[in-house]
């Protein structure tokens, strides 16, 4: 199948947009991505739109009502925290299949407030606090502790992830927060679900991100190869049965399967990757994914954070955008926003946080249920 490129990409600075609808947020970044690609809504042949929480969910059509109703095929996609990445992947496949040359992928979210992962059941009683906790901070604390059980990872090592990502975000004007948080501040912040303190939980914010995709022929015809970024690999995996996945969400197996498929598609290995934007929804999760994405060997994630290998300037910088922990995590926008970050580095426009000489970047998201998406993006020659 033919190669597909990201030619225009945009994201809002994540934050809170009271009174705005997901469609309004999505329309804003759709225009930004189209402007960067030098196309109008009349050039877009299909639109895929990702959103998790809107009760009606016809956001692709809402976006078109804002920016132009041209009658094109469109579809709405919901895939938990992998929604944005899945949306872009669908827009990519239409081009790969030869059914379009230019498509638009939008991920937009107006988030519910407070803790995610619980609430009152339709019938019976809530089991929250009875059969453990289904809150996201607890679920990811348990995932982190399963790793700590095997490899002795400490509270301080998990907390160092937040120190690193908050430092990175001070260099990213699109991050919700741009404030350094020393280790003591992270560890002494309000405890939510041990070992995750408030500063070790991703930021609940609204946001949107969008990308214009083109076939290689279309990129060349329009003379846009200088700004185009190739989608070198795109992999999606659901969790297979494991003995524990009825009692705890398995965020590891699906991530490993997607990562291995992506490396195989690209014909590359972990040593070829220059930067990674991975799913640090909680500080406990980031360390697990070092190993899941094959960035380190078995049990070496603690060492990776101790030695600074994943800091800007380290061997393999991870979440130089500030990550979900500081940039923010508007569910359906996150997957495309990760790609916005990697595209900036591959184009050399990431400013103070630029990973020098970056040619290949990886993005990863994992949505509970469970689904994981991994993409490898490559700088054009």
């Amino acid at each position: 199948m033919r190669d597909v490129y990201i030619v225009g990409i945009d994201m809002l600075r994540f934050g809170r947009f009271p009174g705005k609808t997901p469609g309004e947020l999505g329309a804003e970044v759709a225009l930004g991505a189209m402007d960067e690609a030098g196309v109008s809504i009349r050039d877009i042949q299909a639109l895929y739109c990702g959103n998790q929480f809107d009760p009606v969910g016809m956001i692709a059509q809402d976006v078109q009502k804002q920016i132009g109703q041209t009658g094109i095929p469109s579809a709405n996609i919901k895939n938990a925290c992998a929604t944005g990445a899945t949306t872009l992947r669908e827009a990519m496949f239409l081009i790969k299949a030869g059914a379009a040359d230019i498509t638009l992928a939008v991920g937009c979210e107006v988030m519910p407030r407070g803790l995610l992962g619980g609430g009152e059941p339709a019938a019976g009683i809530s089991t929250e606090g009875l059969l453990g906790s289904g809150s996201m901070p607890c679920v990811f604390a348990e995932a982190g502790h399963a790793y700590a059980r095997d490899y002795g990872t400490s509270f301080a090592q998990f907390a160092q992830v937040s120190v690193k990502n908050h430092w990175h975000s001070t260099m990213n004007p699109k991050a919700m927060y741009q404030k350094e948080t020393p280790l003591e501040e992270v560890m002494q912040a309000e405890m939510i679900a041990y070992p995750n303190t408030k500063l070790m939980c991703s930021v609940n914010v609204d946001g949107a991100a969008a990308a214009v995709l083109m076939s290689e022929e279309e990129v060349r015809r329009r003379g846009l190869m200088g700004q185009a970024v190739k989608i070198r690999a795109s992999a999606l995996a659901s969790d297979p049965y494991t003995p524990r996945n009825l009692a705890m969400w398995d965020i590891n197996t699906a991530t490993r399967m997607a990562a291995d498929k992506a490396y195989e598609q690209a014909g590359l290995g972990p040593d070829d990757i220059d930067l990674v934007e991975l799913h640090d929804c909680f500080a406990t999760a980031e360390l697990l994914h070092y190993e899941n994405l094959r960035l380190c060997g078995v049990g070496e994630a603690g060492r990776m954070i101790d030695t600074g290998e994943t800091r800007l300037g380290g061997r393999i910088p991870v979440n130089v955008s500030g990550g979900l922990l500081s940039k923010g995590h508007p569910i359906a926008a996150t997957g495309i926003a990760n790609m916005y970050e990697v595209v900036a580095h591959l184009r050399g426009t990431a400013g103070a946080r630029q990973v020098e000489g970056a040619r290949l970047g990886m993005t990863h998201v994992v949505g509970l249920g469970t689904v994981a998406a991994v993409h490898i993006l490559e700088k054009s020659l």
Partner: protein
């Protein structure tokens, strides 16, 4: 007095109100399951899931101490994932143990106990739940 209801499909309450945890094992691939399914989620075989009573002892696989939860839920409490001795995996609350990291260790032996859930639904029905205690 009415028999209390169960908090989960895998917690069985008999006509006398006695409770036990029941899991199912696939006779083809030996996968162990708690939640209901139409076929074996591990191998896809149909009609092969045989119910069995879960051994009430196990070891703590992972945990979190929950300090912030949803409105109306008493905190702090200890949420645990337990590997039961027969291979079943269950999630629940660990009670009778101080909610501090020093009091909890990986692989500590625990046992299942059954008790009133302490909550009622909108119709006023009582529920029985399972809990873990240090063994």
């Amino acid at each position: 007095m009415a028999i209390p209801k169960s908090v989960a499909p895998w917690l069985v309450v008999d006509a006398e109100g006695r409770a036990h945890v029941e899991a199912r094992r696939c006779s083809v691939c030996a996968a162990i399951l708690t939640a209901p399914s139409l076929a074996c989620p591990s191998c896809g075989a149909r009609g092969t899931l045989q119910p069995f009573m879960v051994t009430p002892t196990g070891r703590l696989h992972s945990y979190s101490i929950v300090h912030r939860s949803f409105p109306g839920v008493t905190v702090p409490f200890i949420s645990v994932v337990v590997d039961m001795d027969d291979g079943t995996v269950l999630k629940g609350n660990l009670r009778g143990v101080a909610p501090t990291p020093d009091a909890i260790c990986f692989d500590m032996p625990v046992r299942l106990v059954f008790d009133d859930a302490g909550r009622q639904d909108r119709e006023g029905n009582r529920y029985v739940s399972y809990f873990f205690e240090a063994a």
